[in-house]
């Protein structure tokens, strides 16, 4: 890693009275791909949404040297943090082209002039979108909508791209293609990726590092190799879950 792009310390978040994140620490370097793994309900989505400032949270969040923890969602989005939401967030009644142009509206001011070239680059990265430029986005298949979502976020020229469950509802072969593209994106768009995923194997293939979240806390983190080969991920998933369940059971 060439330098720290994002550093969060002691991040907590709650929905009403239910606390979901219990002090998460995380670092992401420039041009790094980090896989965010963890069972359902671990708080992955919440963590990404907190980073995008659409869920209120406490704790330090330093992005590119600036503390962003008091920023609004809109400001974060236009300052280099892209977010591909869970469920893709497609604007179903807009055309594919309009969806992408919408992404470009979040570009930093100084990059407005290069939007055209980036649009071409998105179409180059996802040729299937080019063929469907004028189509209503709601008519795209799930996989195409996922590509559209990534393309739309890239149009904002983020430095950090948060991707929430890209494999959700996709056929294995499509997922594989998508991850191949994600692996290339980092160099072509010089962007760091934080990918929340259930598919640990595939994520670890393209990631440099992985962080396993369980019950709102970081359970394990390390390089993708360590976690992948040692099968530590599975142990961390199950191990943590079992320990906690056991503890609760004993308390009852």
């Amino acid at each position: 890693m060439t330098g720290t792009l994002l550093r969060i310390e002691g991040l907590t978040a709650r929905y009403g009275t239910v606390q979901v994140l219990h002090g998460v620490d995380l670092e992401i370097g420039s041009d790094e791909i980090v896989a965010l793994l963890g069972p359902n309900g671990a708080g992955k989505t919440t963590l990404l949404r907190a980073l995008s400032r659409v869920v209120s949270s406490r704790g330090r969040m330093v992005f590119d040297g600036t503390d962003i923890s008091s920023w609004s969602g809109a400001r974060t989005a236009t300052s280099g943090v892209g977010h591909v939401p869970e469920g893709r967030g497609t604007f179903v009644d807009l055309t594919v082209d309009e969806n992408l142009r919408l992404g470009a509206l979040a570009r930093p001011r100084e990059l407005k002039s290069t939007a055209g070239a980036d649009l071409d680059m998105v179409y180059e990265t996802f040729p299937v979108l080019q063929d469907m430029r004028r189509r209503t986005a709601g008519l795209l298949s799930g996989g195409q909508q996922q590509m559209l979502a990534v393309g739309r976020a890239l149009m904002a020229r983020p430095r950090l791209l948060l991707i929430d469950e890209p494999s959700l509802g996709l056929a294995p072969i499509v997922t594989r293609q998508l991850f191949d593209v994600l692996a290339q994106i980092r160099r072509r768009w010089s962007v760091s990726l934080l990918i929340a995923e259930q598919n640990a194997r595939l994520s670890l293939e393209i990631a440099d590092r992985a962080v396993v979240l369980a019950k709102g806390q970081v359970a394990v983190s390390g390089s993708a190799e360590e976690l992948g080969y040692g099968d530590a991920v599975r142990r961390a998933y199950l191990g943590v879950a079992n320990d906690e369940e056991g503890g609760k059971g004993a308390g009852r």
């Binding site: 929905y15 009403g16 009275t17 400032r53 659409v54 869920v55 209120s56 008091s70 969602g73 809109a74």
Partner: protein
């Protein structure tokens, strides 16, 4: 603690009924007229509450149904010499039929479209009254030369008798609606209101349940309208214009569309606000000012007391007596949803 908190409202109703029964012996005939108006309007608003508060449907046309009931009672009583209760009965039958007739297509449309259909009814109704002049008396409407409800030898005035009749009718309506809401239909309505999709999946005949609510609500409004017209001895198209329909809807919300006491509060506001305004600004401006205050109150209520005046009072009392914890929990959850979905 639990049964005490349940007893308090019941006791309150019994005391209120008791006061109601002796009230005609204490206040002047002049005041009784307004009080009877409150009772009948409260009935209509309660019917609307069943729709708005308990089944999640909107009617912007209950003023017209109220008027339909009024004319259905006035025409036979004035023109054909029927006894007043027969007129009320006819009003009930006609408004029930009308509710079903209106409800069927309305359900097919669903959502905002039901609102539109009822608006159309509210708008067209007074025009039709004027058009069918031979039957309805046109613009001048129907006029009762002498009170319809009277017992000449009883020693009670018509105003007193009217009040008792209205009170009895309101009590019957309240009890009936309450039982309806707490019974099987009520549970079905609650399910439909939360999610009609889910309700349908659980084997509830969504459309039938909604239709029943609409028909009952319409019947209640019709009977209320009949009594109202008989009490004030007049029915004119101008009384049943679009703004009256929306005033009823607003009364339901201001009072609290999930509270029966709220219906009385809402009705009292409709009746007394103009009088009150007149005390401050005289003449024609009074009507405008009372409409303005009404609107401002309505907006304020929506924002600060979304469950209406009765709802706000209940939850205040609840805090004092630990009453109605369920409702508070629901409110809390929904506000949480709101805060989580916006940035700090």
């Amino acid at each position: 603690m639990r049964h005490v908190s349940r007893l308090i409202p019941r006791l309150g109703w019994i005391i209120a009924l008791g006061i109601g029964v002796i009230l005609p012996l204490l206040v002047s005939d002049f005041d009784l007229l307004d009080l009877s108006r409150v009772l009948t309007l409260a009935m209509a608003v309660a019917g609307l509450n069943l729709l708005v508060g308990h089944s999640g449907q909107v009617s912007v046309g209950h003023g017209a149904i109220f008027g339909l009931g009024g004319y259905a009672a006035m025409i036979p009583v004035v023109s054909f010499g029927w006894p007043w209760w027969a007129g009320v009965l006819l009003a009930a039958v006609l408004s029930l039929a009308f509710g079903i007739l209106l409800g069927i297509p309305a359900l097919k449309m669903g959502g905002a479209n039901l609102g539109l259909l009822t608006i159309a009814v509210a708008v067209v109704f007074p025009l039709l009254l004027i058009r069918f002049q031979p039957l309805t008396g046109g613009t001048f409407g129907m006029f009762l030369p002498s009170p319809a409800i009277s017992l000449p030898d009883s020693g009670f005035t018509s105003r007193q008798l009217e009040f008792w009749v209205c009170l009895l009718a309101l009590a019957v309506v309240f009890v009936a609606l309450r039982n309806l809401v707490h019974g099987r239909l009520g549970r079905a309505l609650a399910a439909v209101r939360t999610s009609s999709l889910l309700a349908a999946a659980n084997g509830i005949a969504v459309n039938r349940v909604k239709l029943i609510a609409f028909a009952v609500s319409s019947t209640v409004a019709g009977v209320a309208g009949a009594l109202y017209a008989l009490v004030v001895s007049i029915a004119v198209p101008d009384s049943y214009v679009f703004t009256f329909s929306i005033a009823l809807l607003a009364a339901s919300v201001i009072g609290g569309s999930r509270s029966w006491a709220g219906a009385i509060i809402g009705a009292a506001i409709i009746v007394y606000l103009p009088t009150l305004a007149e005390a401050f600004v005289g003449g024609q401006a009074a009507g405008n000012w009372s409409q303005f205050v009404y609107a401002a109150g309505l907006a304020l209520c929506l924002i600060v007391a979304p469950s209406g005046i009765a709802g706000a009072v209940t939850s205040l009392l609840g805090r004092a007596f630990a009453y109605a914890p369920m409702r508070r929990a629901v409110v809390e959850r929904s506000t949480d949803m709101r805060t989580t979905s916006t940035a700090p």
